[in-house]
């Protein structure tokens, strides 16, 4: 069961992408998600594909992991492709089956949107594959720091995020254990009419909630005992460092944006 639960799916490594500062990767992904929408013809979508393949190549992530990231959304990709093929009526008719006509424009649109979708999924998956959840949190905290001016408790939010990330695997194990314990007592989770299944969920969630809240209480006590009193003057164990690689990465993105703007119709 554990292999299904790799949350965040971070794969350690020391490729160019792994070595980047989480801040540059976050900025990169964020902007990339926006510039994908600049593409609107064969040349620009081609550029996007080549660029993405290049990023995959230098991240040295095995294709297997990327395909895995695509799995949960593959139905949506196919659905999107079909919707565009069936409902876009532009250009010449390519295929006529009487009840069904496929237009040239529809096919093109379907392929374009699918490329956009896949490229988006790949780039965001690469971010989570090459950056540990805890560095993502660190990066987010620093990037969102300016929002402190608006009285947003950025430090507290980042700390809560770290705590949550720390406890996800623990609580998953816990869920698994409780599930097995209830099954050993004869509870049947996946069968029967809806009413029975709803009832079967309750003995699962009650102990889970109780133990989770117990953990939260212990954690709060532990934090207070160790003298936690907010972000003011707190030093960091993990330091973020921005170097030439990060500047290169942002520069490549700017170049890509310029190319997309130039070649789009």
């Amino acid at each position: 069961m554990m292999e299904k639960m790799i949350f965040g799916r971070f794969i350690p490594g020391d490729s160019f992408v792994h070595q980047l500062d989480p801040r540059s990767k976050l900025i990169f992904t964020f902007i990339f998600v926006v510039i994908v929408f600049l593409a609107n013809n064969v040349a620009t979508y081609g550029l996007l594909l080549i660029f993405t393949l290049f990023v995959i190549l230098i991240s040295r992530i095995r294709l297997y992991f990327l395909i895995n990231g695509l799995k949960p959304v593959i139905i949506l990709v196919i659905f999107t492709f079909l919707i565009h093929i069936l409902f876009t009526r532009e250009g010449d008719v390519l295929l006529n089956l009487g009840f069904l006509e496929v237009y040239e424009g529809g096919l093109r649109q379907g392929i374009f949107i699918s490329i956009r979708f896949v490229v988006l999924v790949f780039v965001t998956t690469i971010l989570t594959l090459t950056t540990s959840p805890i560095s993502i949190t660190d990066g987010l905290e620093v990037l969102l720091n300016p929002l402190k001016k608006f009285k947003l408790p950025i430090h507290e939010l980042a700390l809560m995020m770290s705590i949550a990330l720390r406890f996800i695997p623990t609580l998953m194990d816990e869920t698994d254990k409780i599930m097995k314990a209830q099954m050993a007592r004869g509870s049947d989770l996946g069968a029967g009419p809806i009413k029975d299944r709803i009832k079967a969920v309750v003995p699962l969630l009650v102990p889970l909630f109780v133990s989770a809240f117990k953990r939260a209480e212990d954690l709060a006590t532990a934090m207070e005992v160790r003298g936690y009193r907010g972000g003011e003057g707190r030093t960091r164990y993990r330091q973020l460092k921005w170097d030439a690689k990060d500047t290169t990465c942002i520069f490549a993105l700017v170049l890509m944006t310029a190319l997309l703007v130039f070649f789009r119709s």
Partner: protein
């Protein structure tokens, strides 16, 4: 922010994600029953659950393969719906009614997700709204009796305040 409240919110977020990933097998026929969605009903018991639930939505979307659209639209959807619930809760005291209203608000507000799909994938807006809304309504309505059964044992209102 008090340390205890922070720890509680963080653990609720972690629980939200753990439940999303581990109990995904509980499906009723064709409808995937995302059981973690029923956490949205927690706010009907006590508004202090909101931070934890929103944080859970944020983190799970941060790692979702669809990327940051889900982050912006998903979090916006939760924040708007839960804020509406908190405002409504001032006038509606019956918790079952609150959960019913919550289910309705979440279902109706799925247009935000439909808009996301329209912008990102150019899917037809009305069709996406219909399909996503049906899924949401089923999950949240089934969630009401579950939450009531859980509340009998756990007393959600005071669990977070004690």
């Amino acid at each position: 922010m008090k340390t205890k409240f922070m720890a509680m919110a963080a653990i609720i977020a972690a629980l939200y994600i753990a439940v999303t990933y581990t109990l995904s097998f509980l499906s009723f026929g064709d409808i995937q029953f995302r059981i973690a969605e029923i956490f949205n009903h927690l706010i009907a018991f006590n508004p202090r659950y909101m931070l934890g639930v929103v944080l859970g939505v944020f983190i799970s979307n941060l790692f979702s393969p669809l990327g940051w659209f889900d982050l912006v639209f998903g979090v916006a959807h939760s924040v708007i719906c839960l804020t509406i619930l908190i405002i409504v809760s001032k006038y509606v005291k019956n918790i079952a009614y609150r959960m019913l209203i919550n289910s309705f608000v979440f279902t109706f507000m799925m247009w935000i997700i439909a808009l996301e799909l329209k912008l990102a994938l150019e899917l037809p807006f009305w069709l996406s709204w219909l399909t996503t809304a049906i899924g949401e309504a089923v999950v949240l309505l089934i969630g009401i009796p579950i939450m009531q059964l859980l509340d009998k044992r756990l007393n959600f209102k005071n669990l977070i305040d004690q």
